[in-house]
């Protein structure tokens, strides 16, 4: 029983991790339909920048995280301006490959011996220690991740559905010319959207890094899963992304537990295939 509960918590924590990363991508991929494969790269940069803040600037965790979020946000906005904006009318594969180019660049940059090098880095947990509830152990860091993912979801959903800026993002993603005709400065909105997405990626990375580890290729592992999660949840649906994240996490953890750990990833992806085969639109269709 305790083992089962423990696994439940493990799944929740893993789901929180996935959700946090997926939410950053929901904006650019789910809403704006830009297949930004460099998102994993931004995520990775976020972790390294926080690491750099902690070790080089010797500042504490929270300011390091904030600086990292701001820098990655700016970088993401720049990326929109220089690459995705000019490619906005090209077929999907074009921005996708360009984004891969950016990902390669980021990884090579960080892995360069003169920058951080290819070795693993570690960010210490800002709130070390564990909580034990009914024999179930969970670390503070994981609780923070779960809480942050729920907060991010609520915030993002509110932002998109209830604020005018949120509506302008959706409007722009659906018809750029139409958006301009009603007076929306689409250039600014596009960059803003990327900036938010970048900041979310950096925050996610900084929160998750203490649980996992910091490597130049850390974004690649996440990339595939979070793209899958967004499709699973239903493109453009924020609650869908959360549900998708937890669903993936639960199938991995419990699939691993009851079937075979070595096949946990296979089970996770198989679940995706199954869900899409049954509901080709994903779990949640885009709402209005």
């Amino acid at each position: 029983m305790t083992t089962f509960l423990q696994q439940l918590f493990n799944a929740l924590a893993l789901g929180g991790v996935y959700a946090l990363v997926a939410l950053g991508l929901t904006l650019v991929y789910g809403v704006m339909r830009v297949p930004n494969f460099a998102h994993g790269g931004l995520y990775m940069l976020g972790a390294y920048l926080t690491f750099a803040g902690l070790t080089l600037l010797k500042i504490s965790y929270v300011p390091a995280l904030l600086i990292s979020a701001v820098v990655v946000a700016l970088l993401a906005a720049l990326m929109e301006r220089l690459i995705f904006y000019p490619l906005r009318n090209a077929p999907h594969v074009h921005p996708m490959i360009a984004a891969l180019g950016v990902l390669f660049f980021f990884e090579a940059l960080i892995a360069h011996p003169a920058v951080f090098g290819p070795d693993f880095k570690q960010i210490a947990e800002p709130v070390p220690g564990i909580v034990t509830i009914a024999g179930v152990v969970i670390t503070w860091q994981r609780l923070i991740v779960i809480a942050a993912s729920v907060a991010a979801m609520l915030g993002l959903n509110f932002f998109l559905k209830r604020t005018l800026t949120g509506a302008t993002i959706e409007a722009m993603s659906q018809n750029r010319e139409g958006a301009r005709l009603v007076g929306i400065n689409t250039d600014r909105v596009g960059m803003l959207t990327f900036a938010i997405s970048g900041a979310l990626a950096a925050i996610a990375a900084s929160l998750i890094a203490p649980i996992n580890s910091v490597t130049p290729s850390m974004g690649e592992v996440m990339n595939l899963k979070v793209f899958a999660i967004i499709i699973l949840g239903g493109m453009g649906s924020v609650p869908g992304a959360i549900v998708g994240a937890f669903l993936l996490a639960f199938s991995e953890v419990f699939g691993g537990f009851y079937i075979n750990l070595d096949f946990a990833d296979v089970i996770g992806f198989a679940m995706l295939v199954l869900v899409l085969a049954i509901k080709p639109q994903g779990l949640f269709r885009r709402g209005t």
Binding site: T3, Q7, P118, F120, I211, N212, T215, E220, D262, D265
Partner: protein, 356 residues
Amino acid sequence: DKVVSIGFSGPLSGGAAFYGKDTQSGVEMAIAELNRKGIRVKGEKVTFKLVSLDDRYLPNETATNVKRMTSQDIGFIFVPHSGGILTVQPMTARDNFLLVAYSSEPKILEAKNPMTFMLPPRYDNYLQPFTATQMKAYGKKLGLIGTTSAYGKQWTDAITAEWKRQGGTVGGNNGVDYNTTVDYSSAVTKALAEKPDVLFVGGPSQPTALVIKAAREQGFKGGFIVMDQAKFEQMDTLIPATYLNGSVGVLPTKEFPGTSIFVNQYQRVYKKIPTSEAGLNYMGMNVLAKAMELAGSTEPKAVREKLDAAAKALPLSRSVYKLMGVTDIGHVDAEFTIASVRNGKYTKLRVAKVFK
């Protein structure tokens, strides 16, 4: 002057780059030292030039790289992964090069390729003392959470067999891929559900440390058997030293007798802790150079003949590990030392029986 090019094909980008770079650094450092010191082969001064090509851990890329190098008449090529080694092994005779293999895959030796020079010592030597020590200290039940790389799987199989041979019981295999797993908690939970006394863990140091951490946090009080790929000296910078108490694994390179020169030098140049990846490849390159001197030739076959003699003649300062020689099938015969750890202090373990 004569310039002899030394080839290297390994993962220098992507997820395994850290590993590739570590192995490359050993060769590189040895070459820099040898060039500084000056090597003479048959009276002629020889300088070495390292030609490194990235293969991203992909065997087909290794094959392409090796073809490129042999087209340029490079006669000595270091490859640090079994897939690449096995792929290019059949090419050694035709294209006349000496394959310096850094991998402990037994199949490499089974091929009985006359032009292979394999560096790592056999890991099966670790099994008996690891098992005996931990079984005595903690109990008879072993849990498995090793990485699922080829090497990790071999280890898992081998330790399972040895543990059973010594009369213990072994739980289900809860191995996960240390390179792609996002959170180890669930694997650890599953392994701990069987209430093991000892856990087998290991993969690259950093994720291994995270596995150990998760196990301790979930209340595991027993001991760890740490696969040789993970290095204590790297792990204890990542997690509280007490988490490692009662673990057995390989002795940190810096604790070997006579390695201080190498360790100091390495830390000065690369600003990081040298591991056996660097150390063994450093040694391999030195053996190679020595064999050229002894053979009076830089012809790969001639050099191959003198590897054993070279290994025996090499001073400890250049070999890092104590070398007994090179076997007929081209395997380094080195002394290896293992240790158990408590509060950052290492206790060397005695090895009862040595496989050759």
